[in-house]
């Protein structure tokens, strides 16, 4: 058995994981990063839009500052976030963007002079100042008061990921790819590393470490329709949750995006609608203008996703081999606009659909996009329940997003949180000693070996892992998607209980030898069904609508009863999660109020309680 030792083991080498690693390595600690795929293929590289930081350099960003960014983030979260964390984030973001520039990110820069931009299909003029020439510029994104999103052309995630990975290479950090963590090594109190399956050979390996960080990204793949990469399957959440002592924070908080293309659910940008694109139904008629006369297609992500789903439920969807969808129409924007401003959409249509968007309609449907849910940590990134375990990035519920994250805030979170939490891990490691108990390690390995043998031999049953996964994915699409209600959630939970039974009886069809994918899928299927049950149970109990969590039967945001965060534990041997709750935030810089978009009524919280926790400036 190969055994590796390090001060810090980072599970996941996306932007968050590598940023954590860099911070600890700079302080002289020995760091190992693991990733399923070469680091640069991590999902972070797929982000095209950009990352938010209040630099205030460009004309439309003038007057921006960290307070405005903080306010947008809190409002965006529908007051579900931890305001201390949102503050840490907004304050550090500008420094972190400059640091990235120093390391090599080719940010787009301010070009002085007049230029045009489009809003709602209309043309406006702006003028950039000479004195700002060459500073980092920004573009506009939904939900922000100012233009604040830093970017490099149409490949921000890719460019930042390259730079971060280069920085790791420069510091000599060991980044091992094709390594998948399948369980944590812990004694119920302290975490001391992980058992890992090598995806080249199929062999198990042991990684022992003083500190471990879970930075494995989101788990969109438990939904049938998602914009996420195929490796965003919850592996990191599962190994943490599996310990029985680590809670998943706000499992019901899942974000949906209106325009994933059918069949592959690749994202086409919100810019299509921003520039005047429309949504059509099976009769090629517009419908958003009926439901939302004022904003129509330009209503917020969640609102549009909701009406699209509603409309398809009314039988107005287009049937296809891949399920129902609607149409996105950008034909009227014309060749010039499409081949310049929407070049990337044009390419996606060409490569994946064989569609010319100048002449043809684009098949779209609402799609899972982001998991606000995650491994619950405190503001230092320390995971609840296990000493020596940390988490950062989309995998974590550090909780600056609450029930809805703003576009551009998650990519920024990966590097900002990575920096902050990396420093906290360094502090933790300073002078820290731990014991690696050999019995604990061999028990952990034997348990995984045993699981793999049973799966390969079919000792527990012969359920097909891909069919079980499909059942999970469909149940979540039906019951825990854009709309939720009592009946749907209860029936989802019913279904998933049966799915859990089946997941426990999976047996492989293939031999499972080597870099076998069926084995990888089988090892995590039970954990995935459990995550699904946490979402459904959390959503059933939360009898209100907040951010992306939308209850048809409880349409108001209920601050009186639900200004809190769900913590879902899975105790050993249990068949359902155990839910606990904690206050959404320890303090208020901005007391709960109206977001200014998204509609809906609010049941107000007890005034005195809020007052007592409000920071006086």
């Amino acid at each position: 058995m190969q055994t590796y030792y390090s001060d810090l083991l980072v599970i996941g080498a996306g932007l968050a994981g590598e940023r954590v690693a860099v911070e600890a390595a700079q302080d002289g600690f020995d760091v190992i990063c693991l990733s399923i795929v070469p680091a640069r293929r991590s999902h972070s590289s797929a982000a095209q839009g950009g990352m938010q930081a209040a630099l205030g350099n460009c004309a439309k960003g003038e007057g921006d500052n960290v307070d405005v960014h903080f306010g947008d983030t809190v409002r965006g979260s529908d007051w579900g976030c931890d305001q201390e964390v949102a503050r840490l984030f907004a304050d550090a973001a500008p420094i972190e963007m400059r640091r990235l520039a120093h390391w090599g990110v080719p940010w787009n820069r301010v070009v002085p002079g007049k230029s045009f931009y489009f809003k709602g299909g209309e043309k406006f003029e702006k003028e950039e100042k000479e004195e700002k020439r060459g500073l980092i510029t920004a573009r506009s994104f939904g939900g922000t008061a100012k233009w604040r999103t830093c970017y490099t052309s149409d490949g921000t995630g890719h460019a930042v990921m390259c730079t971060m990975d280069n920085r790791c290479a420069e510091l000599g950090i060991n980044v091992f790819d094709r390594k998948e963590a399948i369980s944590l090594i812990h004694d119920g109190d302290v975490c001391t590393g992980a058992v890992v399956r090598c995806l080249r050979t199929g062999e198990l390996e042991v990684y022992l470490s003083k500190a471990t960080a879970i930075c494995t990204g989101g788990f969109g793949r438990i939904y049938k329709a998602t914009t996420n990469a195929v490796i965003c399957d919850g592996g990191g959440h599962i190994i943490a949750h599996d310990t029985g002592v680590v809670p998943i924070g706000n499992p019901e908080a899942i974000q949906f995006h209106p325009t994933g293309i059918v069949p592959t659910d690749i994202l086409v940008t919100e810019g299509c609608r921003g520039d005047g694109g429309t949504l059509l139904d099976v009769n090629e008629e517009r419908f958003m203008n009926i439901y939302e006369p004022e904003k129509a297609e330009l209503a917020s992500r969640d609102v549009v996703s909701r009406w699209m789903t509603h409309h398809m439920r009314q039988g107005k969807g287009v049937k296809s081999a891949y399920g129902e969808h609607l149409w996105l129409d950008i034909r009227h924007l014309g060749d010039k606009h499409i081949s310049t401003k929407l070049r990337e959409v044009d390419e996606i249509c060409h490569h994946f659909l064989n569609v010319d968007p100048r002449k043809q309609l684009i098949p779209v449907r609402p799609t899972q996009h982001y998991t606000m849910a995650g491994v619950r940590t405190d503001k230092d990134g320390a995971v609840y329940g296990l000493k020596g375990l940390f988490s950062a990035g989309e995998a974590a519920c550090w909780d600056m997003h609450g029930f809805n994250r703003l576009g551009g805030n998650s990519l920024a979170e990966t590097v900002v949180a990575g920096g902050i939490i990396g420093r906290k891990i360094s502090e933790f490691l300073q002078g820290y000693e731990t014991d690696f108990k050999t019995s604990l390690v061999s028990d952990a390995v034997r348990k995984q070996q045993d699981r793999m043998e049973k799966l390969a031999s079919g000792a527990k049953g012969k359920e097909n892992v891909y069919k079980v996964r499909e059942e999970l994915q469909n149940a979540l699409m039906d019951g825990c998607f854009v709309f939720r209600n009592d009946a749907g959630l209860k029936s989802c939970i019913d279904t998933l209980q049966g799915t859990l039974e089946k997941a426990r009886k999976v047996g492989l069809v293939s031999s499972g030898a080597g870099a076998n994918h069926e084995m990888a899928a089988a090892l995590k299927i039970e954990g995935q069904v459990k995550l699904g049950l946490c979402i459904a149970k959390g959503a059933l109990e939360r009898t209100e609508s907040r951010g992306s969590h939308n209850r048809e039967d409880y349409t108001a945001r209920n601050d009186k009863e639900w200004l809190n965060r769900t913590l879902a534990y899975w105790r050993e041997g249990a068949d359902m999660p155990e839910l606990q709750y904690e206050d959404a935030t320890p303090c208020y810089e901005i007391p709960p109020g109206d977001r200014g978009y998204g509609g809906g009524s609010i049941i107000e919280a007890d005034k005195a309680g809020i007052e007592a926790k409000t920071i006086k400036k």
Binding site: S45, G134, L135, D165, G514
Partner: protein
């Protein structure tokens, strides 16, 4: 619509006892907008769960799924079956180490490349968290980004005659990487420093200029321009070196 597609797929799992390299044929009904990503996943889920191949983003942006499709290296996720004949042959990329079936080890190859090209900005400047950022012309930033668009899929390497003949040849992706730092004003390396890395037969002088790399690059990177640019630059540096001696 609905053709019946025949997939001839290379099979070999080095970790499986008794496995020998061979071609295996699968049959699948074509559906609308089918890509090789959809087809291969259906084959694995419905017909042979032991099939090994790589996908990650499935959107043409991560480079995981490169393979030889009917004789030509390309990204499987953005290849539509409708653009292919009914008989489709899939082989793993050559040059890289085989992991199993259609999956090859690009990760290790590229990590070694970062080390040999020292793929990071070399600067003596120290970051100051209290200062505003150093200015850069937007045009320069865009020029750097154009060279940084490589997704490390490995297509160019596997299409390169020199890379197939000698395994120490850096390849177009690596030379393009060096060009990215050459144009970056933040990098303080001189032409002589770059010459140390690429001024030899493993580097720029090993390239035969046959264009195989650029033809197959799914990102349309201007590899030939970069190779020409470096060859001129390094040629001049080489001459200077001779006169110094």
């Amino acid at each position: 619509m609905s053709r019946q597609l025949e997939f001839d797929i290379f099979r070999y799992n080095p970790q499986e006892k008794g496995s020998v390299p061979h071609m295996q044929t699968f049959v699948l009904d074509e559906t609308e907008n089918m890509t090789l990503f959809i087809a291969l996943n259906r084959l694995r889920e419905e017909q042979d769960p032991g099939l090994i191949f790589d996908f990650c983003c499935r959107a043409g942006i991560c480079g995981a799924c490169a393979m030889v499709i009917n004789g030509r290296p390309g990204l499987a996720c953005q290849t539509k079956t409708i653009d292919l004949p009914e008989r489709i042959t899939l082989l793993p990329l050559p040059v890289f180490k085989l992991i199993g079936d259609l999956s090859v080890d690009t990760g290790v190859w590229f990590r070694e490349m970062y080390q040999s090209t020292e793929s990071w900005v070399h600067t003596t400047k120290v970051f100051d968290a209290n200062a505003i950022e150093e200015r850069m012309e937007n045009e320069v930033a865009e020029q750097i980004y154009e060279l940084e668009r490589c997704i490390e899929c490995g297509c160019c390497v596997s299409a390169c005659g020199t890379a197939r003949l000698r395994d120490d040849f850096l390849g177009a992706a690596a030379l393009n990487r060096v060009a990215r730092f050459v144009v970056d004003p933040r990098d303080q390396r001189t032409d002589r420093d770059y010459f140390e890395i690429i001024g030899n037969d493993e580097g720029i002088f090993g390239c035969m200029g046959l264009l195989g790399c650029e033809d197959v690059c799914p990102k349309g990177l201007p590899l030939q321009n970069q190779l020409g640019f470096l060859r001129r630059k390094m040629g001049i540096t080489a001459i200077k070196e001779i006169f110094r001696k």
